[in-house]
Symmetry: D2
Subunit: 363 residues, 4 copies
């Protein structure tokens, strides 16, 4: 029977892999068991945040050494997603998901399962467009199968890492006579996240295939996936996907549940997800291994009917405001600050809110 183990490792900097190296050295986890790594690095999370790329490079180099494999092999076999931005109380860390065979007796009920998928490399002009939507949907379906999940309703979080358009990409597209979806690198992150999220929604049946049109990206904000979490980074050209869910075929000690935060201060959603797993709030600091969340500044400029200033703050990107706020609210409920809270939730959960998934040790 398959089992998924989860390790949360603090990072002292974006290039710090000593924690992972120790786990490998001690044999606590074998490199070839690792299926996905989700990390938060202490950059800005914006276009020129190279802490993500740096962390991916360093982790990849370590794993390539450990597995005597090439970097290309590593990127094909293991989904490594580093999300920038640990504003407020958030703490830099990586979470390692390992799959292994176990002789344990099948536990009661469903348990945490993880699967991965990937698209081909996208051309710059495909970013934020239908090509990205469809390729992402395919990759999600493959990841669900990989996880051994048979019911889309058992999928609780889909992490997507997608490309952004650097100045060079935009110039290259234009030199080929193609029109990129935007000429601003910063905006390209939103386009890429939005298209990916719509791809997830299609794959999970949250939106019917034919309902999604290219022009809906960043426009039809009521169309969304309630479990998609998409990050854009300058270190890759393809879209990579990690599916987290519950499966009867898993013997993991962990479970996952999710709710939609309706706004940045929706602590009740976090409490609801805890309750779904049967974890009392007082036990959360010990039993919660991570919370995976996506959040955004409400695009209407209001939270609960009152004006916020996140969208007009030119000194500080709205995604940084949103992570600081949602991260603190989630931490105030679960008592843990090493959380995977990521910003920019276009088509990811309701506008101004976002999906929140709790992973905790089951009783």
């Amino acid at each position: 029977m398959q089992s998924v183990d989860v390790f949360r490792i603090p990072m002292r900097g974006p290039g710090d892999v000593t924690g992972l190296a120790e786990l490998l050295a001690r044999g606590t986890v074998r490199a070839d068991e690792i299926v996905a790594i989700l990390g938060k690095t202490e950059g800005t999370g914006l276009v020129n945040d190279f802490t993500r790329e740096y962390a991916v490079e360093t982790v990849s180099a370590l794993l390539a050494d450990a597995m005597h494999a090439s970097r290309t092999d590593i990127s094909r076999r293991i989904a490594i997603v580093m999300s920038g931005g640990t504003e407020g109380v958030l703490s830099p860390h990586m979470t390692v998901f390992a799959r292994r065979w176990t002789s344990k007796a099948a536990p009661e009920g469903k348990r945490l399962a993880v699967g991965i998928g990937s698209t081909r490399e996208l051309q710059p002009h495909e970013v934020g467009r239908m090509a990205q939507i469809q390729a992402t949907a395919e990759a999600v379906r493959a990841a669900i199968a990989d996880a051994g999940i048979d019911n889309p309703a058992d999928v609780h979080f889909v992490q997507v890492k997608c490309p952004l358009l650097r100045v060079a990409d935009i110039e290259s597209a234009r030199s080929l006579g193609e029109k990129p979806v935007t000429l601003e690198t910063r905006e390209s992150m939103a386009w890429s996240r939005g298209a990916s999220a719509l791809g997830v929604a299609i794959a999970l049946g949250e939106l019917p295939d034919e309902a999604v049109r290219e022009r809906d990206v960043l426009a039809a904000r009521t169309m969304y996936s309630s479990v998609a979490s998409c990050s854009a980074g300058n270190e890759q050209k393809h879209v990579s996907v990690i599916v987290f869910g519950m499966s009867a075929a898993s013997a993991s000690d962990y479970g996952i549940s999710h709710r939609a935060m309706r706004d940045l201060i929706d602590a009740d959603a976090v409490r609801g997800a805890l309750a779904d797993l049967g974890v009392p709030e007082a036990d959360a600091p010990k039993r919660v291994i991570n919370v995976l969340a996506k959040c955004e500044a409400d695009p209407t400029g209001h939270v609960r009917g009152v004006r916020h200033t996140m969208l007009s703050d030119a000194d500080l990107d709205a995604t940084r405001h949103a992570r600081a706020a949602a991260g603190a609210v989630i931490a105030s409920v679960v008592g843990v600050t090493t959380l995977y809270v990521s910003g920019g939730a276009e088509h990811q959960g309701p506008p101004g809110g976002g999906p929140v998934a709790v992973i905790a040790k089951l009783g």
Copy 2:
């Protein structure tokens, strides 16, 4: 019998006084009843944040017109404190406190009372030093008397606005042969807040007079006032003080209570303060008129034992991180985002935490 009324007015920008002008025009409040105004403006809250000064100027001009008084009169009679920084969900607003005589029968128990005080103008070299500590303590004592509070234990929040050192102030001190406490404008804000807070602690008997020495400022972090909230701004030379507390001599509809947040995610402290006033959490969005809070990034670099990155973020000041986090946590409990949450809590509440006072309509 004296009564204190409280008006929370949203601001569309730091120069927006239309809400206050309407209240005056309608006669809802008379200018000469106003004793204090606390506002949050959408600046950075740092040295070169002129939104505070702009808001103070605009409000003062309106009140001077309304009272046919000079600006100097206004600044002597009304304590106007604008604190910069509405990160995350926080919303720019001002809260107007008015004192008036009422023929109402004395209500049961104590009610909200407000008093103000002020020091002389401080010289640049006095900022952050014993002169500021002592002058502030005197001003706080005067404000307590002004509020009609007879027991220091009934003081729940002391708002202090104190000067910072601009480059010109530092140069001027040096040209007079005086040594300012720091040569960095940004740091001078911390020195000034710290000295003010120790003055509050002395006035309230939280620390014995003789226990506080000049060298304790910013050094002896375990010495603090649990109700002090100090903001430094470049628009004034004196220290002005507003005392908020409970008095049997008040017939206000409102009450105030406080707790100390032990860290930025201490939602329980907010719940405790609500409970002290007998306000159920579900009623908070309607009954809470404001929450006054001070917060800071934990100076040890850790929250609940886990590393945070607020102190090493050179792009984004730690006070901005802290306001975003604490503001969201408090809002998640009370369901209100027009909150007075201010950053930089040197000697204001326990290290890494800060005082939180809830003002709400009593039952």
Copy 3:
């Protein structure tokens, strides 16, 4: 005969009008002689930079007092343009242009002349569109006539202050069923500046009327005015215009000349403009009263064929980079740092460059 006098006044902060107040008190200039004021304030120059609005308010209040006029009168009679951002060596200041009648004999040749114009208030959905282009062109023509300039070739600088779209403006447009040109406040500044600049180009005959289409705004970057300088601010709804040029009908002691900087480091353009006025470089620190310039980060991502990082810097807006660079280069030539250097040069001078106009005392 008409004469234009020019006063450069340092500002100690965005609300500092003591210098102007002294000039008025001494009678050096009369308020009703003032036709335009151009200032640089120490904000970020971005959407939420309220130092511009604050400075405009404070200057307007002073002038309204001095002229016993209403604020509305002041804004109709005097063009007050405050541009945010004094990066690098740039120094906050205002330059006051006064027109008066003189009995001086007509000097040889043409001299500095100034005229102003204004459009009606624009609706949010008109910003960045043909309505703004056409209204601006009309206002420029009126300002040229007002200046007493008969040849468009004698116009050396056209300063435009135009509205931006705040979150509230965007929401208001949408609630009326109108589609604003962009949903991002920050971007709206570029759209508004671009449309204004094309309006200037039409008025001066740099582009034929019929050549400019709405879709050219921010798209056809080779279409530009070589003398337009447009700033967007959140303190106004109409477009106001100041024309600077040379006129035989002026007896001013000052002259103006301009060149186009082809990139941010084009010191030769500044030297050329100095030479056009017959001012030797060594005399510039004494004779140059101001340099008016517009600049931008090269939209191709390259300066002289080599990559720059201004467009991908998410921490620091490209306009701030550009002002710091161009300001320092101009200051290195003229030896003066109280310069009017403004960022964001869409359709204002060649791409990556911008107009630079020198105002200096004539020999």
Copy 4:
């Protein structure tokens, strides 16, 4: 006879070593000939700028592979200095200095020579103190000898990379009962740069050994080295030193000269350095391979007697302002934007200015 060759390689990102890899692959340069690499990366140059560390790691990994050496060997043999911050027109790049034996006839006059040195690892409490000053002086003397320079007057630039204090370092020092020179990571960069610069001044005889006391660091601003350039980074514990000068024992095609910029807009200093090498300004774009410069915001708050706002800008560190300004001024003279311009010039050149050294092909 020894020769020094210089290669300037553009970088597409902080992890881009493709240019260097190509040089090695083609055999243009051999890894074991490389003595020093100076780079500029597109970070903020502040405490949490990890682009420096990332670039050092990536370059080191490439060279370790090429030389079949360990990382430790690489860091001992090759001085790799990455300085963060390419504000304004500056362009990310690395400059590779290679030493090789040549059979060329001895050229006339002195030519470019390069040498390196290093201190032991410093303890956190030694940073910014006498221990750092003395250790650095020793390392500089060793580097001069290594370069084959016999007269200190022939030293034209000394690049120092020194540690900063991270939050963890400060805590670790305190836990050992040691008092670090500052409790603020950001400030520790200034302390470390200042102590290093005084060490350089002693080694070159610019200041007599006994004249420098620990309390002079950051205090006695008139004590400085006119050729020191110090960068603080979070990726190392020791101080590493590269000396650039002229030697009769070198057959390099390149020469180096230096001047002191007296302020950020001192273009004449750059012209002077060009002239010292006999390079006409018109030839500079072709012949100048790099300019090495250090700069700072004038600590008095004024440039040429006029106020600047760099020191009170809480959004944007003064070092970023200074690099943008000085970088643009230097580029405007030499017509090259791939320049090594670094910020924070405590005790490095006159206050408000800094050393500027031109490396160019000799005639």
